[in-house]
């Protein structure tokens, strides 16, 4: 599956990115304890970047991490952690991944939530936008957003229907 541009125009670029296997790792304890924490984004809202530089391991809920299309290194980290501290669930298909860019990307999200407040002191945040459950990450060229797949089509339609004054 390759990237599909959903919206492109008046300062907004919404591109659906290909997403393969997706894991959710859930530790038994919060705050996370034990040896596995080394190399893990243990703080709430922390993100560890993968070898390609994108967000690879997102601590988006108490003791719950998302590993979208995990690179080998992160997959290994998760497998190791599963031995001692929690369980890993293959949730492939649960999330669809979008890249929101363009000068007015922030304004798009501001139509749903106070982005600054939500991401304050955090790299990723679980937040419902346009009534769709999402995980939001700020990246250099805008935002990376994971939307629960059954909501994704309406998420795109909601962004499309926005009327953003000049």
């Amino acid at each position: 599956m390759m990237a599909v541009t959903q919206i492109s125009g008046n300062g907004i670029e919404l591109v659906e990115r290909p997403i393969g296997r997706v894991l959710e790792f859930v530790a038994f304890h919060f705050p996370p304890e034990g040896a596995f924490v080394v190399g893990w984004p243990a703080a709430p809202g922390a993100v560890r970047h993968d070898t390609l530089g994108g967000p690879g391991l997102l601590h988006f809920a108490p003791a719950r991490w998302l590993a979208p299309s995990p690179c080998a290194e992160i997959a290994a980290l998760v497998a190791a952690a599963e031995e001692a501290a929690g369980t890993c669930v293959d949730v492939t298909g649960k999330w669809r991944e979008f890249a929101l860019g363009g000068p007015r990307a922030g304004r798009v999200l501001a139509s749903a939530v106070n982005v600054e407040a939500v991401l304050e002191g955090r790299e990723c945040a679980a937040i419902t936008m346009f009534d769709c459950p999402c995980i939001l990450v700020r990246v250099t060229d805008g935002y990376r957003i994971w939307v629960r797949s059954s909501f994704a089509t309406d998420f795109i339609a909601a962004v499309q229907s926005l009327r953003l004054p000049a």
Binding site: A27, F28, H29, F30, P31, P44, G45, F60, A61, P62, A63, R64, N114, A117, V118, E120, G121, R122, A125, A126, I127, T128, P133
Partner: protein, 80 residues
């Protein structure tokens, strides 16, 4: 009435959370735990869920007369 600070997600608008119930008196009977409600005017101990965020369950202490949120504790993960 102020925002509710989810210990995991940080301060969030109250509309993101759902109230479940006020906590029963400790050691009450099964009937009392399910049906009776402790109605303290200025210091209510309650269970909420951050449904529009991390879905974590919270113990929240509030003042129902002023609306102020006094304290929030995340429940899951053997934290408390």
């Amino acid at each position: 009435m102020t925002r509710l600070t989810c210990p995991f997600c940080g301060p969030r608008e109250l509309r993101e959370f759902e109230f479940h119930k006020t906590l029963p008196e400790p050691g009450s009977t099964p009937y009392a735990r399910v049906y009776e409600r402790v109605n303290r005017l200025d210091d209510s101990l309650e269970h909420w869920q951050h449904v529009q965020g991390c879905r974590g369950w919270l113990l929240v202490r509030r003042n129902p007369s002023s609306g102020a949120v006094l304290e929030t504790v995340i429940l899951g993960g053997g934290a408390q």
